[in-house]
């Protein structure tokens, strides 16, 4: 039973990790919490729905790739419209965060106003296939999601280590101004960064959509992923992975435990937010993170 909980925790944790990587990637370079990421994740799920259910009958894998691309483009546009002016003006990270919230509110409610609040289901991929290992049951979809996420993050890692753009991104995380003086066009670099983060988000959205449902306030779940990123340390990619997985595990454990007879599962959300607040107060750098002071 315990191991089953672990498996459950890891499976949701891997999706959290994917989302958390998106947050941390942007944070590492631009030093702000991109709350619009949740909206991008949601839109990724909706693109998949539009492709697979509503307008066309695109099979899963192509739909996944198209959703990733679409979400990446949307994230790129988001940066252009809502952040690039502030970034060029070297505005404090708080302003960027507020702009992000504005985008999140707009997009989420745009979905409500146009498509509506109805929950949609994405066609069950791998049907309800499960794999049995002894007493454990793991759904094939979860295995796929876990493996595919891991592969994508590995590719991301290679990009950051091996390519010129990747090195430039890592350098920009430390000193964006200097990087521009070395000839890097920051607009292009940041655009690429957001495309990557958006694609990862889109993927996470599709997996969430398959696992659960598609609805406008899906973005809310990503608040949890954000907490995972904070636990691991904002700005650190390995931290995001560890944090996301850890959060998934902790949530799964809390869901099935009880304190003095009362189930704690309803308090799961308070628990997550409680961790967030406590972390921010006592250790905002999380496990691996880097703390940058407000530029006074």
């Amino acid at each position: 039973m315990f191991i089953q909980t672990i498996i459950t925790g890891l499976s949701i944790g891997s999706v959290y990790a994917l989302m958390a990587v998106g947050y941390s990637l942007v944070f590492s370079v631009l030093n702000f919490s991109n709350f619009a990421h949740g909206a991008i994740i949601t839109l990724g799920a909706y693109i998949a729905w539009a492709l697979m259910v509503h307008y066309l009958q695109v099979p899963f894998f192509p739909a996944l790739l198209l959703s990733m691309g679409g979400a990446g483009i949307l994230a790129f546009l988001n940066e252009r419209i809502a952040y690039s002016t502030l970034r060029r003006r070297r505005a404090p990270s708080l302003y960027l965060m507020i702009s992000a919230m504005g985008v999140a509110i707009s997009l989420q409610n745009l979905l409500y106003a146009t498509i509506g609040a109805k929950l949609y289901a994405l066609p069950p991929v791998f049907a309800m296939d499960v794999v049995h290992i002894g007493e454990l049951t793991i759904s094939k979809m979860d295995i796929f999601a876990f493996v595919f996420s891991a592969l994508t993050i590995a590719v991301l890692h290679l990009i950051l280590i091996r390519t010129k753009v990747g090195v430039a991104i890592r350098a920009a995380a430390h000193d964006m101004e200097m990087v521009s003086v070395l000839g890097v066009n920051l607009d292009v670099l940041v655009g690429v960064l957001f495309f990557i983060a958006g694609s990862l988000g889109g993927m996470a959205g599709v997996f969430m959509g398959v696992k659960y449902m598609v609805y406008p306030s899906m973005g809310w779940i990503t608040n949890k992923a954000y907490i995972g990123a904070v636990i691991g340390g904002l700005g650190s990619l390995p931290g995001a992975i560890v944090g996301g997985l850890l959060l998934g595990l902790l949530e799964a454990l809390v869901s099935v435990s009880s304190l003095g007879g009362t189930s704690l599962s309803t308090y799961r959300d308070v628990f997550s937010f409680g961790i967030l607040v406590i972390l921010l107060i006592f250790k905002p750098t999380g496990f691996f993170g880097r703390h940058v002071e407000d530029k006074l």
Binding site: F32, S33, I81, A82, T85, L86, A91, P92, S93, L94, Y95, M97, I98, S99, M101, G102, V103, A104, I105, S106, L107, Q108, N109, L110, Y112, A113, T266, Y267, D269, V270, F273, G274, L276, V277, L280, I281, F282, P284, V292, E293, D294, L296
Partner: protein, 672 residues
């Protein structure tokens, strides 16, 4: 008409909540994204009391306010104490907001997520507007007190605020308490208007509405946020049927404002004669828009042509907008002579104060005028004005003064003693076992190449960060472990290399802010602007501030916004503000940086005057050799965090170690 009443009541209710957030976010500079939580506390408290316990309305509201304040202090204390960077703080408030909501959903007394129906409808147009007006008056009064100025100072520059002795935590908590109280009041009024509340009402959407009101209305203003929230409530009503788009609209507006007009509608300004047209234009646009739909429908019904209807509606809307705009401008112009008379009256009053301090100022002027010599094309030939200044002070008197203070061995009571002071940053040693003594009333110079640790020494004395080793003794007391505000209270004041003024406050207010320890009336008296105590104290503070401005020669700029001052005058203002702290020891960090020769000479005169008239002990960091040489009878030279030489200007100039520090090992000095 009931419909109009509903809109107006909603405006009042949300305006009260926004006022509260304006104090916390707009003035103190701390972004709270979970303020709906305080509205929830106020709403639930008041509702439970009136519904279950039949408590009278105003008493229930008051208890709701009190509970909101208490909750805010409970949440605020650990969060503010952690001194998070601004976006982390905002996220923490978000977390708290959600936590409160979830707790309410799971609490039996509040009937959980189902909500509380059947609340008596006690909120009326009359009492909501009464409370709104009261809230506005109280907030206005508060901001004009010493308490309010402290909060505004913190919002402008927390580091500088601490450096003039304003402790951050208690003042931020005060600001939070006031804003939470107002939010709680608003929540109580809301509950008794809608008669049904559930936790989901107090969501992030509500918090965003209020936050958007402050951001779009303008930080540092009360008029702005109230206007903005009014618009946020009214405009969606004009486009009924587009209810879902309301939030899309807010979101977009937030993005637009923060990107292109971060000051908002009324940034750092209140309503006055000059921006009256702005308010009228906004009202005009709103009025025009509100007439658009009804006109459109009326034309459609009577004539039926859609395009025609659009044109007519557009024309009417446009006409109303223009009309209001003209009205605003006209009113503004009509009030101009009234404003003139008001200002001239104020001017005559302040002139009387000026005439007594005018003499000090003109003396300074005379001193400044004799040392400048520029050739027309800006190139200085022969001798620079700076070099000239070095010869102003006769050699003999410097030697006399130096004899009293040589090398710290023959000192009178030392006012400051540093012993083996050490500070590391990561691997770099900034201060390496520094020791020296400063005598009372001495004017000491501290020089050294860039990166030699001079500013670090100041930062250690004024406790910007802790020491890694050694002790600092001030007037015999060990101040090494003390915090910045305690050091200020003990009598140490400093200026900064890169000026840290409170930009949006006036010149006078900057100095007044530093006099915060001398205003003695209670918070309650402040809220009410109690006629017996408050005006007297405020006038005394203003007069004292003017006197200090006159000492540095800035009394004519008293009502100017500090950020509009030219660079040289900003430096002077920093000095006046430091003097307001009644220091025994003044630390001046490169006061001549960026000054042209004339300004530098004025500065030299000013420092001399302060030193003699106020009897201060002064340590001066400078790179302008001539400034240091002409002012300081004794100079310490630092390099790589260590003291390498100490003596009179002449001794320093000939000291081979000093030359080596500045010139490198290749130089030998030979004195003929």
């Amino acid at each position: 008409m009931a419909y109009l009443e509903a809109i107006l009541i909603n405006v009042a209710i949300y305006a009260i909540a926004t006022l509260g957030l304006a104090i916390f976010t707009g003035y103190t500079g701390l972004f709270s994204l979970g303020h709906a939580a305080f509205m929830a506390v106020g709403a639930y408290t008041a509702s439970i009391l009136t519904y279950f316990y039949k408590v009278p309305f105003f008493a229930a509201l008051a208890l709701g306010v009190i509970l909101s304040v208490l909750v805010s202090l409970l949440i605020g204390y650990p969060t503010l104490r952690a001194r998070l960077r601004s976006d982390y703080f905002a996220i923490a408030t978000l977390g708290f907001g959600e936590a409160v909501k979830v707790i309410l959903e799971n609490f039996d007394l509040t009937q959980g997520a189902r909500g509380l129906p059947g609340i008596p409808k006690f909120s009326t147009l009359g009492n909501t507007y009464l409370l709104l007006v009261l809230a506005i008056i109280l907030c206005r009064n508060f901001l004009k007190t010493t308490y309010g100025r402290k909060i505004i100072a913190i919002g402008q520059d927390p580091v500088a605020a601490e450096m003039i002795g304003i402790p951050l935590l208690p003042n931020q908590l005060l600001s939070l308490g006031i804003s939470a109280g107002l939010a709680g009041l608003s929540g109580g009024l809301l509950a008794h208007y809608t008669t049904f509340i559930q936790p989901s009402i107090f969501s992030m959407d509500l918090s965003s509405l209020v936050t958007a009101g402050v951001v779009c209305g303008g930080m540092g203003s009360l008029t702005g946020p109230v206007t903005a929230v009014a618009l946020f409530v009214i405009i969606p009503e004009l486009f009924r049927g587009f209810a879902l788009w309301r939030l899309v609209f807010y979101g977009m507006l937030l993005v637009i404002i923060i990107n292109w007009r971060p000051k908002g509608l009324f940034g750092y300004e209140e309503l006055n004669r000059k921006n009256l047209p702005k308010l009228f234009s906004i009202a005009g646009i709103t009025g025009g828009l509100s007439l658009f739909m009804p006109t459109y429908r009326w034309v459609i019904e009577s004539r039926g042509y859609e395009i025609f209807a659009l044109l007519v509606a557009g024309a009417v809307a446009g006409a109303v907008t223009v009309l209001f705009g003209l009205l605003g401008k006209g009113l503004s112009l009509a009030l101009a002579p009234v404003a003139e008379r008001y200002h001239s009256l104020r001017g005559r009053l302040s002139e009387r104060v000026e005439s007594t301090s005018g003499e000090l100022w003109s003396e300074g002027q005379r001193g400044a005028s004799c040392a400048v010599r520029h050739t027309p094309d800006g190139l200085i030939d022969g001798t620079t004005a700076l070099y000239e200044t070095a010869r102003l002070t006769p050699e003999s008197s410097k030697e006399n003064e130096a004899a009293n203070y040589t090398a710290g061995t023959n000192v009178k009571t030392p006012i400051l003693e540093l012993e083996e002071l050490r500070k590391n940053f990561g691997g770099v040693v900034a201060v390496d076992g520094l020791s020296f003594k400063l005598s009372e009333g001495e004017l000491l110079g501290l020089i050294g190449p860039n990166g030699s640790g001079k500013t670090t020494v100041f930062n250690l004395i004024s406790s910007v960060y802790p020491v890694d080793g050694g002790t600092i003794l001030f007037r015999g007391m060990d101040i090494t472990p003390w915090g910045p505000t305690e050091v200020v209270e003990a009598g140490v004041a400093r200026t900064f290399q890169n000026i840290r003024l409170f930009g949006s406050m006036t010149v006078l207010e900057n100095v007044q802010a530093a006099l915060h320890r001398e205003g003695s009336y209670s918070l309650l008296e402040g809220f009410l602007q109690w006629p017996n105590t408050v005006p007297k104290v405020e006038r005394r503070l203003r007069d004292e501030s003017r006197r200090l401005l006159a000492v540095v020669g800035l009394e004519r700029e008293a009502d100017r916004r500090a950020s509009t001052l030219p660079y040289g005058l900003q430096r002077k203002l920093e000095i006046a503000r430091a003097l307001a702290l009644r220091p025994k020891l003044l630390l001046l960090d490169e006061p001549a940086a960026g000054l042209n020769p004339r300004e530098a000479t004025e500065l030299v005169e000013l420092i001399k005057r302060i030193h003699q008239d106020e009897g201060l002990s002064i340590i001066l960091i400078e790179h302008h050799m001539d400034v240091v040489m002409s002012l300081c009878p004794r100079i310490l030279v630092l390099n790589f965090g260590r003291l390498i030489a100490s003596g009179t200007p002449e001794q320093i100039q000939k000291d081979p170690r000093v030359l080596q520090a500045y010139l490198g090992e290749k130089a030998y000095a030979v004195v003929r």
